[in-house]
Symmetry: C2
Subunit: 257 residues, 2 copies
């Protein structure tokens, strides 16, 4: 019951920030959580989980955590579960896990750093975290105005990516300080920028780079724009625009280390 | 009232196929519809539309169609509107438009052709149509097993892209016949394929190319796999995978004409 009210509470960003816990829901996401080394506070399970073979296997894996973690597993009714769930047809499993305490210090050997400047759509941010992890980005830094990285929809969209990938919130000042100290230039994506191909040709081999992408509608903030050494644009048909997760994917791929 | 029941009916794929109409909902999407040359069967408007300045401007534009189209505009109650709407907080405008009768004959000068092989997530397909239009793809062909291109969620995700971009459903046989006749090779995206960079280097300048992407979970169908001249893979971190819309964006960008 205490776990259930904590899970409900964690639907709000302020509660997540205060408690340093977030919610992982669904079979696939909880499987990813078990494969990660994140700390688990507890798990809520509803009867429908054991009905599916994959769910039953997960329940077994939870009861014998392969990393030796020890946490309570509370069995609750389908109706109680619904109250804590963020999905329409819950699969009946929800874990509460510790938010990793990442900061600039967590970046061991920076190669590419992705900066999210005020991205608000949780689906986009989840997809972007998944992309950053897959393309070998060293860390993703979320600036103020960006949706909480531990929001349930972001976690779902990321499919476990930031259980492993270094991702955290930081201020513009802290970012500037870090990049300056480590001599890492910032390039920013902006539809009025120079063509990506032209700018990419100037990128020295084995160089380090931070790449900023802006809000879905408003684009980059003035602070980030002004701090950027270059701004890059994708050459697209004037009438259309790209989804920000797709644009970020193309830019990260083109500028990969 | 007739428009209202038609709009409700068109939530089902079979009704869309029978009637050759689809539904366009929301201020932004209906603005895109007005800017296109698609035929409009009628528009449903609820009181909340006129309350917002942009909505009021749209209402004015509907009443004086700049392309001289003539269609009924039915004013209905907020509650009636809710019954036809596919969104949780409807903006109060919904148009019924003719599905463009596209086929392989609509492709005038093929350069890049995108093939969707069994993609099922409407959000992904909408984002992909938007990407294809922005990156200058000549046409998008949806093979059997792919979600209906005129599904409301696809239309919303595409943000009007396929009001202009040539996109249609076709059989694998028809696709093979067209590609063979026009000497257009098919390359397919598959995680077990050759690295994209390697394959791209073999692409002759000014050549024509079809590119197939497969289902989110199951990948390509055997027919498409076997017909493909090459299969290409994105070099990604083994643990992670890319969202199919992001992967398609990267491949279309890398292989653009």
């Amino acid at each position: 019951v205490k776990l259930l009210s904590l899970a409900r509470d964690l639907q709000r960003r302020r509660a997540r920030e205060r408690e340093s816990y977030f919610v992982v829901e669904g079979v696939r996401a909880v499987e990813e959580l078990l494969a990660s080394s994140l700390r688990v506070r507890g798990v809520l399970v509803a009867p429908q989980l054991a009905a599916a073979p994959r769910g039953a296997a997960l329940l077994e894996a939870l009861r014998n955590d392969s990393k030796g973690r020890d946490y309570p597993i509370a069995e609750i009714s389908e109706q109680e579960f619904q109250g804590a769930s963020a999905t329409e047809s819950p699969q009946g499993v929800l874990a509460i896990a510790r938010i990793p305490e990442h900061s600039f210090d967590s970046i061991k050997t920076p190669s590419r750093i992705l900066v999210l400047d005020g991205l608000q759509d949780p689906g986009n941010v989840g997809t972007i975290l998944r992309t950053a992890a897959a393309l070998g980005v060293s860390a993703t830094v979320a600036l103020p105005g960006t949706v909480d990285l531990w929001n349930a929809k972001v976690v779902r969209g990321a499919m476990g990516a930031h259980f492993r990938h270094v991702a955290f919130h930081a201020s513009v000042n802290a970012l500037q300080r870090y990049l300056t100290e480590h001599h890492i230039p910032l390039w920013a994506a902006d539809s009025r920028g120079e063509p990506l191909d032209t700018v990419r040709a100037t990128l020295p081999e084995a160089s380090r780079l931070a790449i900023a992408v802006g809000n879905e509608g408003a684009g980059l903030s003035p602070e980030v724009s002004m701090f950027a050494a270059r701004t890059v644009a994708l050459p697209i048909d004037g009438v259309e625009s790209l989804n920000v997760a797709v644009a970020t994917g193309i830019i990260l791929y083109e500028l990969r280390a």
